[in-house]
């Protein structure tokens, strides 16, 4: 009854015992393998590794776009500047608050939707594809579209609220409404995608567990609570980590939400760290400061991910569930953008 599992059994399990020594003698030396990984690592070293390290170097200097070769050493001044700057803390607070508003409801919704998609359905493929349409819509297009939907005067959102006799907030100018609107864009684009990830995780759960639970008289809710959720824990942790990384580098939505001006709204009400870094570097021409921001962001991401893993591990030790997850999803593509 493990038909729902999509992972194939590794062939090693069924093979004869004498295989291992044979393989060692048959396979040629290891040198040729480097030729196969070389293209990847050459591109990676030139366009990822070198820039990352150089960013650290730049962050210790005073650098301008026009005179990139004339860098003057300033030590930790850029970091000192950053940490004593109100703009940084504003952006940090906004990144965290938008991150929470955009991630928590999104993942809860995705979990619920995945649960429904896991029923036997007519038009299953239709629902799945339709829910993935927002994912296929680009960040730029989605933001431009939502900007018009949330327009304070002409937008259809406020028209609907007007019909319902509800207050019509200024989705652009006021702090919380604008953050909610930006979070709505993110939630719209990613909920269906995460629902599919959860659905895949649910289908990998051994259905014998459900049968056993049903025999023991567990209700649907209890089955969800005590079979589905524990089985999904590695997947959930994976989506939380990926969403955290994505939220920490939020950039495009707040940029386009203010028509491409990188100040995060007239009062910086939705300025994020990613956007601040762009503003420092490309608008204010202070590359050293921008580089310091970039490394600070990286530190924050590592810290956030480690916190997630730590909390998950502690919880798991309490519950006695599986160890750390090794799940990868295409979301990782988005992360490495």
């Amino acid at each position: 009854m493990t038909a729902s599992s999509t992972t194939a059994t590794p062939p090693a399990a069924a093979s004869p015992v004498s295989r291992r020594p044979a393989r060692r003698s048959v396979r040629p030396g290891s040198k040729v393998a480097y030729a196969y990984v070389a293209p990847f690592f050459l591109v990676f070293a030139a366009f990822s590794l070198y820039p990352w390290l150089d960013t650290a170097w730049v962050s210790l200097h005073n650098v301008r776009l026009t005179s990139y070769d004339k860098q003057t050493w300033v030590g930790l001044d850029n970091y000192r500047n950053l940490f004593t700057n109100e703009f940084f803390y504003n952006a940090l607070r906004n990144t965290i608050s938008i991150g929470i508003i955009s991630t928590v409801p999104q993942l809860c919704l995705a979990l619920g939707i995945a649960h429904l998609l896991n029923y036997r359905l007519r038009g299953r493929t239709f629902f799945r594809v339709a829910m993935l349409m927002p994912y296929a819509t680009s960040l730029a297009a989605a933001t431009v579209i939502f900007l018009e939907l949330f327009d304070a005067n002409l937008g259809i959102v406020n028209w609907g609220l007007h019909l319902l006799h509800l207050p019509q907030p200024d989705w652009q100018g006021s702090k919380w409404p604008s953050q909610v609107a930006i979070s709505a864009i993110i939630t719209w684009r990613w909920t269906g995608y995460n629902a599919l990830i959860y659905l895949a995780g649910m289908q990998a759960i051994d259905s014998a567990l459900y049968e056993a639970a049903a025999i023991d008289g567990a209700s649907r809710w209890q089955q969800f609570r005590y079979v589905t959720l524990p089985g999904l824990r590695p997947t959930i942790l994976f989506t939380i980590v990926v969403s955290t990384i994505g939220a920490a580098q939020l950039f495009g939505e707040p940029l386009l939400y203010h028509n491409g001006i990188p100040n995060g709204g007239t009062a910086g009400q939705y300025q994020t760290l990613g956007l601040l870094m762009y503003q420092q570097g490309w608008t204010n021409d202070r590359l050293g400061l921008a580089a310091a921001t970039a490394w600070t962001m990286f530190a924050i991401i590592v810290l956030a991910v480690l916190t997630n893993l730590f909390l998950a591990r502690r919880r798991e030790r309490k519950v006695g569930g599986p160890a750390l997850p090794v799940v990868a999803g295409p979301a990782a593509l988005e992360v490495t953008r």
């Binding site: 194939a8 040729v32 359905l121 431009v144 895949a200």
Partner: protein, 306 residues
């Protein structure tokens, strides 16, 4: 074990290399007795609502793009499309080089997809089936980098491109995204289980070189995973915004970057912005409608791999 290796053998004797959307669909039929319960009307109701919310912004884009601005400003906004669509699109062409953007996006996404699939399949094969010193370290390095934000490298990267004279040209966007760590990991996970070690050994015994084995055993078996990786990479490259925005100018943009000139133009008009956005988005939505099943399958397959 020692039979001559042919491309066909790799496919048929591999342990069930899945089709792009095999898993969920076939598994479903067999599990009927077990968990998946028949959905009730309430389930359908919620799913329909969710579907409407997913599609509505796209539908309303068509509505907005097909009216004049004056019509959109009416006290009751229109809910059905109207006739001004083509007029608005041609006005949008004056604001932003949309056609150039589409062609550029096609070139960029095409090159990036080819490069990513080729390089990641090569590296994934080495990590899955060849043994060499430092392979674990290199793979760990590769996976660890998925955590590094794009922002980390853009300043030196921009300078590097400027030094090469690539700034403003498509090479500057293509080169850095030519490989992804995810792609390597994805191909490694797939090939580790889709190609039996025995088959590769048989190839060596028969005197085939590693490259010959890669071409005639691994490539045919890897095809389903390669097409999944290709679709996901293409979509990601097509929709990429941050780095193209920095590397390219508004005269030679990808389509995503050209959206920005629509919205930042002097006195932007809602209908024209929407018409331009619609025009630039429709190609990928059409492709998505055609390949939607496969993309859904690919995402779900990627989620349980590993």
């Amino acid at each position: 074990m020692t039979s001559t290796v042919t491309p066909g053998a790799a496919v048929t004797s591999g342990p069930a290399p899945r089709g792009t959307d095999g898993g969920g669909a076939t598994a479903r039929g067999k599990v009927v007795r077990g968990k998946p319960m028949q959905a009730g009307p309430f389930t359908y109701l919620i799913l329909v609502v969710v579907t409407l919310i997913s599609v509505f912004p796209l539908y309303y884009t068509i509505v907005m793009a097909s009216h004049t601005n004056a019509e959109m400003a009416a006290s009751t906004p229109p809910l059905l499309p109207n006739g001004s669509l083509f007029g608005n699109i041609s006005k949008a062409f004056e604001l932003a080089p949309l056609n150039k953007g589409l062609v550029n996006s096609l070139i960029v996404a095409g090159c990036v997809t080819l490069g990513t699939v080729a390089f990641c399949t090569l590296a994934g094969f080495a990590f899955a089936k060849l043994r060499f010193r430092g392979s674990n370290l290199l793979l760990g390095l590769c996976i660890g980098t998925m955590m590094v934000p794009m922002q980390m490298g853009i300043i030196p990267l921009y300078m590097l491109m400027a030094k090469f004279g690539f700034a403003g040209h498509l090479q500057s966007v293509i080169l850095p995204t030519l490989v992804t760590a995810f792609g390597v990991f994805f191909m490694r996970q797939y090939l580790a289980s889709a190609v039996p070690d025995e088959l590769i050994e048989a190839g060596y015994v028969d005197g085939a070189g590693t490259f010959r084995i890669f071409c005639s055993i691994v490539l045919p078996a890897a095809r389903p995973a390669m097409s999944v990786l290709a679709m996901l990479t293409f979509l990601t490259a097509w929709n990429d915004f941050f780095w193209p925005l920095i590397a390219l100018s508004s005269q030679n943009p990808t389509v995503q970057v050209s959206f920005q000139s629509l919205a930042t133009g002097y006195a932007p008009e809602q209908s024209i912005i929407m018409a331009g956005t619609l025009y630039g988005t429709i190609p990928v939505l059409i492709v998505f409608a055609l390949l939607g099943r496969q993309i859904v399958g690919g995402i779900m397959q990627g989620a349980v791999k590993g």
